[in-house]
């Protein structure tokens, strides 16, 4: 029965993962909307495997459509670079390899996370200092004064948006998804609609990888994620960005393996923390916890086994179909797909949160354009969550 649950979760996650820009948190709002948590109350394995499969499959949609969400934003540039060279399939393959090794390493590091979290978590000052340090690093790692100034301005604007939607939220009931879509997805989609694109044939590449180098890159990603998960509001993309700023000499292949490893490890660690400490680091997992879907009902061994099976099945499933999917999507007119996508997301937001959500979506989209026009790293938009966390939740 558990195997069937995992299999259905992986299949559904695969389908959802192919929809560009849809984050796993969006799916939880959808489940709330259709009453899915009441219907599938005893099916924790289904929800766990769905999240794993959705994340792994989303690399195919990020590659093909060029529209990320806040978990996959760091993958976009290396994948776009490979796309221009006709090597997109290799890019997705690297993401799959990074995800697999990252997932396995993170399962092995669960005991280390347990020790770290139980000793460090109560040091609020340590976590507070770490978030401040990270924000300062984002500023000083930029090379020109103008860019530094732009980053400070974006941190302030995102922070104000975060405070008045997450802490003092008088506007709509669930502003997080609306703002995340506005900050991360819409500016990308609009940019790609108005930019000139030319058709490039994506060739089948030689997929030989060095096992030792791949393992080291994946392990680095998992270790980065291990420390990132201790900090509330710190996303996997920000961890990836910091790793890439510190370890500057990385080629595109290594980037993709590290980023994928960070993202999958963050997801695995989030499940582990939710079950052992009731500290979900992801909206989707928080909703699973608050609906009693996961928590006491699942043991650590059970969780580890479910994650491992979901990981293997998802990697197998995606590796079987990603080449064909990329070939099919490459034949479509991306501009038309992106325009349809804008309308689809807009409709989804209106259905889930009402027409009142639209002005907030427009505001967050305008703010989401700021890194694009100033040419700074877009993960700084996560200050939207980081600033309220520093001020009110630590």
């Amino acid at each position: 029965m558990i195997l069937i649950e995992i299999l259905i979760g992986v299949l559904l996650g695969f389908v959802i993962g192919l929809i560009p820009s849809v984050h796993i948190n969006t799916i939880s709002y959808f489940f709330i909307f259709i009453g899915g948590y009441e219907l599938l109350y005893n099916n924790s394995h289904f929800f766990i495997s769905l999240a794993v499969s959705q994340l792994i499959t989303s690399y195919v949609s990020v590659s093909a459509f060029g529209v990320p969400n806040d978990s996959t934003i760091m993958h976009l540039f290396p994948l776009q670079r490979l796309s221009k060279e006709g090597k997109l399939k290799k890019g997705v393959y690297l993401c799959l390899v990074g995800s697999f090794f990252g997932g396995v390493f993170s399962l092995l590091l669960f005991p280390v996370l347990y020790l770290l979290f139980s000793t460090l978590f109560n040091f609020n000052l340590f976590i507070y200092g770490l978030i401040i340090l990270i924000l300062i690093m984002f500023v000083i790692l930029e090379n020109t004064f103008r860019k530094r100034l732009a980053i400070v301005a974006i941190i302030i604007l995102c922070g104000v948006l975060g405070i008045f939607t997450l802490k003092y939220n008088y506007y709509i009931s669930e502003p997080l998804m609306v703002c995340i879509v506005g900050l991360f997805a819409f500016p990308f989609i609009l940019e790609s609609i108005f930019s000139k694109t030319k058709f490039i044939i994506q060739k089948d590449q030689d997929m030989q990888l060095n096992f030792k180098e791949t393992s080291i890159s994946s392990f680095l990603g998992t270790v980065g994620s291990l420390f990132m998960i201790l900090i509330p509001s710190f996303s996997s993309s920000q961890a990836s960005l910091l790793i890439s700023k510190i370890k500057t000499k990385i080629d595109t292949d290594e980037y993709l393996i590290i980023f994928s490893s960070v993202a999958i490890s963050a997801l695995f660690f989030s499940f582990f923390l939710a079950i052992n400490f009731y500290k979900p680091r992801l909206g989707y997992i928080a909703i699973l916890l608050s609906n009693n879907i996961i928590g006491n009902s699942i043991s650590n061994f059970n969780l580890g086994l479910t994650l491992f099976l979901s990981l293997c099945l998802s990697v197998i499933l995606v590796s079987l179909f990603y080449k064909q999917i990329i070939d099919i999507i490459s034949r479509f007119n991306l501009r038309i797909i992106n325009i349809s996508l804008i309308f689809f997301i807009l409709l989804l937001i209106i259905v889930l949160f009402g027409i009142k959500a639209v002005p907030l979506l427009i505001l967050s989209t305008i703010i989401g354009f700021l890194p694009l026009v100033f040419g700074v790293d877009r993960v700084i938009l996560m200050s939207y969550i980081m600033i309220p966390t520093i001020l009110f939740y630590i």
Binding site: N169, Y170, E174, S290, L360, I366, L370, V373, Y393
Partner: protein, 122 residues
Amino acid sequence: MNEITFKRIIIIFSIIGLILLVIYSLFFNPQEQPISNLSNLKEGTIISVIGIIKDVSINNNLVTFSFCENTSCVQSILFNPSSKQLDQITKYSTTKERVVISGQYKTYLGTPEIIIYNIKKI
């Protein structure tokens, strides 16, 4: 439109939008609800409730208490309270004064709760 004009427009619209959001939040008047009626509300609704504060627990950056009206009570949570808010809560819980709290109605592990934004004496 050149790049500088576009930059200016984006910045101006961001600031104007945020100012409007702040003004909306400052002047928003949440609907008053009896505690006994909370379970009928949609999760995430912003409400104000009248009652008395009981069983205060202060833990690091978190204050929780039962907010009661007659026999109905609801768990209320205040994140990262200021020292003024802490003094208010302690005072109101000892004097059993009726106060109005405003905040967001949520459920946690199936139990209703209010995430407090503001506490005021009636």
